[in-house]
Amino acid sequence: MQLAREELEQAYKQMKTIREFEEHLHREIMTGSIPGFTHLYAGQEAVAVGVCENLTEADFITSTHRGHGHCIAKGCDVIGMMKELYGKADGLCKGKGGSMHVADMDVGMLGANGIVGGGPPLATGAALAAKLDGKGSVAVSFGGDGSCNQGPVFESMNIAAILNLPSIFVYENNRYSEHTHCDYVIASESIASRVEGFGIHTVKANGFDFFEVHEVMKELIAKAREGNGPCAVEFETTRFYGHFEGDPQNYRAQDELKNDRENNDCITIFKDKVTEAGLLSDDDINKLDEEVNSLIEESVDQAKKSPLPNPEDVTTDVYVSY
């Protein structure tokens, strides 16, 4: 836990912002005011934040259908994101993208993705650009356990390896792809053991613990920046809600969720660690909680008040010029 006080506060605030963002959506989706398909990241916060706290705006990430956490962790404007999810004209993507397509080029966030396995080739391309620029930037692709079975993901890992790119493949193994258990669809012993077959240095780590994620990533990202080529991590993690809202989750073990919420809640684990070590007090945490809550309230308030898109804008931004 060699982190400065501000770093600890920042990490906690980011994880908590993701959690509260998702908790709000969980409640709001039931009322029907969030259109489209929304996949919640609650439970996995330590991974997104533990990775992204090692990145700068000059680094790139690609995300998935379950992308809100990665977006917030990489520094996307939370208010702009909330507006986007409500389908508003001044949302981060002008209401064109929604939950599955949040993106912000200004902070190196190259997009959530509706296509499972769509991100890793793109991150590999961003890593190629970073290598050509020679300024030490890296690109991280986030992907679920299910994404590791896509051909383009295989191809991008091999390309990253042969070209020695600063491409970092993060696999968030939350055990399920939709309703399917990872053991059935992944033939190798683990995702990590498969990725190693591509000649990529791979680590398996505990994604419930921010500090472990942060430490593992710190080392790997530093190596990638120095030109040591690609690497990969398989994080064990859990999602606290269904694949989609309304998913009965009858494919999970009895008490699995209860156990995860009681023993594997990354935010509780973080809080316990920092308070027990005397690094942050309960008061500090409460103050951060208040800041987060007011940010989320503000974002919802603004999102509800924001203007609806103008139907004529359906044809804007198809091209740069035409």
């Binding site: 398909f37 309703h179 258990h181 992944i186 494919y251 004529e312 359906v314």
Partner: protein, 337 residues
């Protein structure tokens, strides 16, 4: 006849065809749900849209195969199994994901018979969903039937009613050529009378949805009911329409369309895709080329704009053709001087 939903009608066809021919099997992501799960008995999903539900109880996991998220692998495995004598029915959850399997469809399945001098058959069906209307944004809302209709060697079916859903799927499974089968995701819950027992709807034979004198409307899938709505409103103004649902875009019932246009002298084609190189432009070109002298007004195409499908309701609503736009187009051609 039994009243069934579009979804139930599709499931009905799968049960009947799997009973009839043991070479028929289904495969896809979560088509059973939970196969190999350490925690649950398989079978609680039955496809994310519920079409393959219950099949594994009768036919077992050997013929109802849950697949990893590997669309290229799914399409290619189906093509290979078909080449080797099986009749796979593969599910690709959203047609947008066909982007991943296009090589297997376009360069492989579509061309075996031709390239191999007529010596091969590839009797696979690739079932997929399409269409806007759920605010599912640009990668989950496309209507990609024009893309595959343009590829010689593939057949393309897109039912608009529960009865046609059953009849066309049964035909698709028995057909010896590869068939891409488009199910509109907003139609699964509509219901209608469906013939009991064996029901086959021939490919290349349009359905005359309604008959009239003033204008021909051609549409498929969800757009058929939009045309019916428009036609009802037009009837109040004394304008009557032929509504033709080709049911398969490949093969295409050209005669049904051309005969109708010769009768009415006017054509409006409706489709929820962008306009360029589309099914709508294909039909328009067909009529312009074949029955030009019968036309009393320019042909109108009511399509989406040249853009991806947007997320927000207001934008998506603008993308999708509406009954109002269809009605206005028909009024315009009928009043053309």
């Amino acid at each position: 006849m039994t009243e069934k939903t579009y979804r139930e009608a599709l499931t009905d066809a799968l049960f009947l065809e799997m009973r009839r021919d043991e070479n028929v099997f289904v495969m896809g992501e979560d088509v059973v749900g939970g196969t190999g799960s350490p925690h649950a008995e398989p079978g609680f999903v039955g496809g994310v849209f519920g079409v393959t539900g219950g099949l594994h109880e009768e036919f077992g996991l050997e013929r109802c195969i849950d697949m990893p998220i590997s669309e290229a692998g799914i399409a290619g495995t189906a093509a290979g199994a078909a080449l080797a004598g099986k009749r796979p029915v593969a599910e690709i959850m959203f047609c947008d994901f066909m982007g991943l399997c296009l090589d297997q469809l376009m360069n492989q399945a579509a061309k075996f018979r031709y390239m191999f001098g007529g010596k091969a058959t590839c009797p696979m069906v690739l079932r997929t969903t399409y269409g806007a209307g759920m605010n599912a944004a640009s990668q989950h809302s496309q209507s990609l039937h024009p893309l595959v209709t343009a590829i010689p060697g593939l057949k393309v079916a897109m039912p608009s009613t529960p009865a046609d859903a059953k009849g066309l799927l049964s035909t698709a499974i028995r057909d010896d050529d590869p068939v891409i089968f488009f199910e509109h995701k907003t139609l699964y819950t509509i219901s209608g009378d469906v013939p009991d027992g064996e029901h086959l709807v021939p490919f290349g034979k349009a359905r005359m949805v309604s008959e009239g004198d003033d204008c021909t409307l051609v549409a498929t899938g969800r757009m058929v009911s939009f045309c019916e709505n428009a036609a009802q409103a037009l009837a109040d103004d004394g304008i009557t329409c032929d509504i033709i649902d080709p049911r398969t875009t490949s093969p295409l019932d050209e005669d049904a369309i051309l005969d109708s246009v010769e009768k009415t002298g006017r054509l409006v084609v409706v489709d929820e895709t962008p306009p360029r190189c589309s099914f709508a432009s294909d039909i328009a070109a067909l009529a312009a080329g074949e029955v030009f002298s019968s036309l009393k007004a320019p042909i109108k195409q009511i399509t989406g704009p040249h853009s991806p499908v947007p997320f927000a309701k207001e934008l998506e609503g603008e993308f999708v053709p509406s009954p109002t736009k269809i009605r206005d187009a028909v009024s315009e051609v009928v009043n053309f001087k």
